[in-house]
Each structure stands twice: as C-alpha cells, then as structure tokens.
Symmetry: C2
C-alpha cells in the first residue's frame, strides 16, 4: 500500500432510516465510550443522519434518504424536502461527493429480512476485496454483497459520498425494535471494519484467503400486481427467510392471495436477499436477486 | 346449550392497528370470497377498524385504538381524536357495549413477537373454555392466553364491545409486512373459531379433551430505564423469541447497553409473551408475563 490511499478520516453514520434502531443505539453507546471506535491511524466521527425520522419513529419524513446522494441531486437546489436537505447538509459535512474530506464512510442499516450480518461493498477494488475477506475471516457468519454494478460516484447511497464507503446491513429485525443479536452483530462487524482500515493504513493487513464467496447484485423483483398496480400476492413461504439460498427456474416464489402459486422463470441460479423487506413495500418490491461469485483477493 | 346463548351475529374486525397487515389482507380476501367465513347458524360482517392508519402505514394516528373501548371512554364526548372517534363509531355499529347487537367479535392482530398462532380469551366461562379446547384440538401449535384478570366489560379492547369476543394474535411478523406463514395461521385459526361458534349454535360441539394448558396474564415488565425515564437496555438475547418458555428467578432477562446483564427477580415460574413487541416501545414495555394454568373444559 502506498501513502496515497491511506484513509485518514472515517465517518460512522447511523439512523439514515429513522426506524432502523441498531445504528442509532450504537451511536449513543459510542458517544459515551468513544474509545470503542478509535484506532491509531485515523480520526473517526459519528453522524446521526435522520434524527427527525427517528423522533417520528418512521423510515423517513418525505423520501428515502439513502437514495438522495446522486451527484446531480446533491447539486440540484430544487430538491429541498427534509431528507433532500439533510442529504445536502451531510454532503457538506462529510463530502462533497467527488472531492470528499472524508475518506471512508460506514453506514449502519437494519433489514426486516433474514440477511444476518451482511457487508455491502459498492466497488470491488483491491481495498474492498481485502476488506470483505478480512471481515469474513473474523466473522464466519458474515455475508458479502457486491453492489458494484455501477461506479461509486453513480450510486445514490449515503456511503457513496466518499471515495470508499460500505453499508453494514443486519437483520432480521422488525422496524422500530432493538434485538440484541442484531445489535451485537452490527457492533462486531463495525469493529472488524475499523480494525481492517487501521491495518490497511499501517501496511499490516495479515495474510488473507486467496478468494471467497460473495453475492453480486443482479436485479430486483416486484411483488405480483394486477393491471391497476395493486398488490395481489406475497412472498412464498418457501422463500420467506431463505435469504442467500439458491432459487432455480421453476421454484415457487410468490403466493397470490387467491392461493395460486407463482414460480420463478429466471434462467440462472439466483440468490434472493432483502426478501420481504418492510421498507420495499412502498415500491411494491419483493426482493433483490444476486448471482454467487468468487472474489479473488 | 340453551337458545339464550346462541350467537346470531358475528363480526370479524381487521386493521385495528394499521400496520398489522394479516387481518387487513384477509378482509380483502373475504370480501371477494365471503363463503369462506359464512356458516349456517349466524350472520357475519367484517369491519376495517382503522383505515386511516393503514393508509399512513402506522399503528395509529393519535392513540392506540385497541385501548379506547372502556365503557366510560366510549361515553365521554370529550375524547374526540381519530381513534377515539372511530371507537365510538364502531361501538355504534357493533355495540353498544353492555347491550351489543353483535354477539361475538373476532379481532385480528399481529405481533412482532414470536408468539405463533395465539388465541386471547377475555373471559373463562364455559363457552370460552370450550372454544380454547376446540381450537387447540384442531390446531396443535395454537396457544391460548387468558386475559380474564378483569371482567369483560372492564376491558378496553375492541372485542369487549360484545358479550363474547376474542383476539386472534399471530406472530412473529414485522410491522407493515405480510408473511405467508402468519397469514395462513390467522386464516386457519379464524376458520376454527367460526366452526366452533357454528357447532355451539347447533348444539353439536364434539367431545373435547377434559383440560388443556393455557397462559394466564399476570403482569407487564418495563424495559430498563434510568432516572430520567430513558431506555438503557434491551431484552436479553436468551429471552428474545422465547415466548411461552419458562423464565425462573435469576434468569437473565435484560442486557443494558453498557453490557451489564439484569436477571429476573420474580418469585414464580413466568411465561413471557409479547416479548420485544415493537408497538410496546411507545410505553417502554418489554414483555408480558403469564402463569401456566390448566383449563378444565
């Protein structure tokens, strides 16, 4: 590693969605015990992204904040609702996107889906490939999801403000609930990520496995709808909670409210995740599908 | 059975809480296929209790509707917010409480807790004791909870409008999600209840077991708080999802955010339920505790 890709400034963001409690409660804990997130080779700040939504016990007031960080949107003064305004404020604090003063952002999220402790990487450069390997080595139940289908600066996620950024996504946890298992997983995974950044900075990353399995985002499926766009079915009971289990052509995937089963017609081995995520109902989304890939470290 | 306790008018209520989706979707299904809830010996109507909260994807707008059916509150014209007004309207439609035109109300609810298919009885007269036995005989994974610690007319639940009424409480399901397993359990349990009422009316209740196990509500525990009333802990991981598993003096029950464990100091064998229910956070409640009892049929 050269000095040029040292990560000197790290930010940990919680409460980007106001009813995803784990990150919000961890921020409180770290406010009282900051030594838990301090490492020798970088400074770390914490950001409570959407305090108003938390106050109102909702995901958001006006729109999903974690979709407001596209470069054009950040520069569009007409986008002025609460989350769009908070996005601009956070971009000013941590960014600006494209030339950010923050080198690395960890954005903490929960899902109602049975995804366990998942690390979502927005790119697959050497740093991210090693980071995934390190976290999986330290935390064998961790899953790595690659959302590298677009370049980082084209993402609209909060963690795309900085040149390097990840999403920590832990479930299953109902909205507006704190589960200890989920909180513990989030704290553990965040600690491993901070350790890795510190090792990276000190040129001390240990030997890692030559490769590992990950899930590369491919497409998003909608819930069954009628011609009027009304929901007419739900996730099939065989698929519920089966995040990261293979789905093959012909497998039942939805059950219509009239009892009829709908099978998946895809032509590849798909790995569903974000299955039946509560927040996705806004857009009638049922789940994301990934392909299993091998990441060479 | 004598003719005097025939139940001629039955109401099925869904969406008393706007983000408990199973009942709301079942009402839609039964609107299209009413024969599924019709039986020979009574009329049945359906009521969508809180459509505004459903529209806004919230439990309630102003206050918890399922606490607004105390007799004094129903008669207090000063209680005029949305849920209080809906409560009066539903009382006019199905009641009035104390002299109700409806003989039996089934109120459909979901919980984020791991309670499985639970039938909550508000009294333990012969009818309810038999109903519990019948449902358990037909649905071996069903649990019967007795909330008969006060008289029916003293309850503030919607289903206390009529002389006979029950709550069907199915989980675990995150708020604002439809799980097929939970939906299927709710539909099955409701069907058995309707069958039983029909058998009761026709004097044709089959032979039932002489007794069964149930859980009698005893007390409600709060989450750990500091002197300022702020939440400082969560449900212990050993207790999470362990609804209806025995809790004994000295068992860990909470974990404080600083890592410390809190043990239960009670002097009886308790059966937690509604463990970590999302909606209870409003009042900082952690769970209900029951005692296991034997119900003689």
């Amino acid at each position: 590693m050269t000095g040029t890709n040292r990560l000197n400034k790290v930010a940990i963001v919680g409460g980007t969605h106001g009813n995803e409690f784990s990150g919000i409660y961890l921020l409180r804990k770290w406010r009282d015990t900051p030594q838990l997130i301090e490492r020798g080779s970088f400074t770390v700040e914490t950001v409570f992204a959407n305090p108003k939504a938390f106050e109102e016990n909702k995901r958001y007031l006006d729109c999903d904040m974690n979709r407001q960080f596209g470069a054009d949107d950040l520069n569009n003064p007409d986008l002025a609702n609460y989350e769009q305004s908070r996005a601009k404020a956070i971009n000013a604090q941590l960014g600006p996107k494209g030339d950010a003063k923050t080198d690395f952002i960890i954005d903490l999220h929960n899902t109602t889906s049975n995804m366990g402790p998942s690390l979502i990487l927005l790119q697959s450069d050497a740093f991210n490939r090693q980071l995934g390997a390190y976290v999986k080595a330290k935390m064998p139940n961790a899953v790595v999801v690659l959302e590298d289908h677009v370049a980082v600066h084209e993402h609209y996620f909060l963690s795309s403000i900085s040149q390097q950024g990840v999403i920590v996504e832990i479930g299953p946890q109902p909205q507006s609930v704190i589960r200890q298992d989920v909180l513990d997983w989030m704290e553990e995974m965040t600690g491993h990520i901070l350790d890795f950044v510190d090792l990276h900075n000190r040129n001390a990353v240990p030997e890692l496995p030559a490769s590992y399995e990950a899930y590369k985002y491919h497409e998003t499926l909608k819930l069954p709808e009628n011609k009027q766009g009304e929901r007419i079915g739900m996730v099939h009971r065989n698929v519920q909670d089966a995040d990261f289990k293979a789905l093959r052509h012909g497998d039942p995937i939805f059950t219509l409210f009239d009892g009829q089963e709908v099978c998946w017609e895809g032509d590849y081995e798909a790995y569903p995740h974000f299955i039946n995520e509560a927040a996705y109902y806004d857009n009638n989304l049922a789940m994301s599908l990934a392909k299993k890939v091998t990441v060479d470290v």
